[in-house]
């Protein structure tokens, strides 16, 4: 094929398949990243070499190109990659790919082949991920920041309105944090913030969200959780912080660290997400007033 001279120097993967998904063309970029020579793969069914591709999505996409003669644009954000090629860049294990599939028609306008163009977008995806994380995470503790918390809480609130699922939040802060800072220094204070947030994070489920609300105050969003379950989670966090004393030993010093927690659940009379936070905050201050190192809930007002 005369165009091979061009296709083989492209910094893109190019694959051509027939309707039985046999490989008709495999450019050098594909050989470089897959390790399969074109001499070996051409003429063979693609799925024999890449069994992972036998997914609903891939089959549907190829079928739609043959059926409609239309194009498929496969987004990296949604699918990460089509061909599983190893490439370790900033947290990614595999090459991130943006993929386009389209028809190759004969002179009678019949789709005889489908082409697949693969673009390596790993570096771009890594930058995007880094920027995204900087935008939603707290630089010191690595948990979510307040901006993310507010957006997420509003989304969860809207979801609650639509599906009537339970929604609870926990607000907590570190007892006598000012005194820890004043006594042991800000560096140790930062260390305590990191360890408390890591302890809370270890206690929460994957779908819960933990955010630094400000200073030494944190907030957990617990979707689909009633107040009684949220109280149990809060109590577990409190106990874990109180009991894991060795977690707060640093090379500098060690202090006894405890936290106070306030819990609230969204109910019919809390009609805004701000009110839900306010209730948890009121409960937190009640816990402080009642002697700290405890969990207090606010239900109906």
């Amino acid at each position: 094929m005369i165009y091979r001279q061009v296709f083989d120097v492209l910094n893109l993967g190019l694959v051509i398949l027939d309707e039985g998904l046999h490989v008709c063309y495999w450019n050098r970029w594909m050989t470089r990243h897959s390790g399969f020579d074109c001499e070996n793969i051409i003429g063979s069914p693609l799925l024999e070499f890449f069994p992972d591709l036998d997914t609903k999505y891939f089959n549907r996409s190829v079928r739609s190109v043959f059926k409609f003669g239309s194009f498929v644009f496969m987004s990296q954000k949604l699918h990460k990659y089509l061909f599983k090629f190893e490439k370790k860049v900033s947290g990614f294990q595999h090459m991130q790919q943006s993929v386009t599939m389209g028809p190759i028609k004969d002179k009678d306008n019949v789709v005889e082949h489908v082409f697949i163009v693969i673009q390596d977008v790993t570096e771009m995806a890594a930058y995007e991920k880094k920027l995204h994380n900087m935008n939603i995470k707290d630089g010191l503790t690595g948990v979510y920041n307040r901006r993310y918390l507010e957006t997420r809480l509003k989304d969860e609130f809207d979801r609650h309105k639509r599906y009537c699922h339970a929604l609870s939040v926990i607000m907590f802060d570190i007892d006598h944090f000012k005194s820890i800072n004043d006594t042991f220094g800000h560096q140790y204070g930062d260390f305590v913030l990191k360890e408390v947030s890591a302890t809370a994070l270890d206690t929460l489920r994957v779908n819960d969200a933990l955010a630094r609300y400000g200073g030494e105050e944190f907030c957990c969003i617990l979707p689909e959780t009633t107040i009684s379950s949220a109280m149990m989670v809060a109590e577990r966090i409190r106990k874990n912080v109180e009991s894991q004393e060795n977690r707060f030993e640093s090379t500098m010093t060690s202090a006894k660290v405890t936290i106070s927690l306030g819990v609230s659940e969204l109910c019919e009379i809390t009609d805004t997400h701000e009110m839900l936070l306010k209730k948890a905050d009121d409960a937190l201050y009640k816990a402080k007033r009642e002697g700290r190192n405890r969990v207090v809930s606010m239900t109906l007002f």
């Binding site: 609903k56 739609s64 059926k67 409609f68 003669g69 954000k77 949604l78 386009t100 306008n109 989304d155």
Partner: protein, 214 residues
């Protein structure tokens, strides 16, 4: 065939075009059922000749309050250029995404769920638009290529949107249809806007189509 005026369409030409769309959408919905296991009912398409400048206002009137709508927008090129707009009300958008997600095999990163919802909507829109436009092109013996679609909000459908694609005073063919997913309370609007840059080519294609039945 009547309609020798080169700058506009005769009634017969409009009827023929409407009939072509009707057949195309019928075929598209049958093929979509096979490819995505979902039966989509496309209503009989209505055809209008409009000035580009009046498009967004026309769509606004047709749909109603655009505030709660998301629109998948995709440009295509064949013998003439066009843009497809697939508009979903918010509730339908969420149900459509949930329906396709069930049928896919992907994990979702909750940090980016909004953005991923848009990506999912783009993929769904690409399939629906691709099916309808390709079938239409096939009947008109045309070959179309598409650019990747994008999602805009109803509020972004402004005059600027039109100006970027067509001359303000240029005439366009606007085709609208209502689509509905069978067995679900889920519907949206599909608008296809085609430029009349190559009206002669379209007239020739219509003539060729008509000849099959003479």
């Amino acid at each position: 065939m009547e309609g020798n005026d080169d700058s506009t369409f005769s009634e017969l030409e409009i009827d023929t075009l409407q009939e072509i769309m009707n057949i195309a959408f019928g075929q598209a919905s049958a093929d979509l059922a096979e490819v995505i296991n979902v039966f989509i009912v496309l209503s009989v398409p209505a055809l209008r000749l409009k000035k580009a400048v009046s498009l967004s206002e026309f769509i606004r009137v047709e749909i109603g309050d655009l505030k709660d709508f998301k629109i998948v927008e995709q440009s295509y090129w064949g013998k003439s250029k066009g843009v497809a707009l697939l508009a979903f009300p918010h509730e339908a958008e969420l149900e459509l995404i949930a329906m396709f997600r069930e049928d896919s095999d992907m994990g979702i990163d909750s940090d980016m769920s909004d953005e991923l919802d848009n990506e999912m909507l783009i993929e769904i829109g690409n399939i629906l638009i691709g099916a309808c436009v390709s079938k239409m092109a096939e009947l008109l013996k045309d070959v179309v290529t598409f650019v990747p679609p994008r999602v805009i909000t109803g509020e972004q459908l402004s005059e600027a949107f039109v100006e970027n694609r067509f001359e303000r005073e240029a005439r366009v063919i606007l085709l609208k249809t209502l689509f509905q997913i069978e067995g679900r309370e889920l519907s949206g609007h599909l608008f296809l806007v085609n430029s009349l840059d190559s009206i002669h080519t379209l007239k020739d294609a219509l003539r060729a189509f008509w000849k099959q039945y003479e």
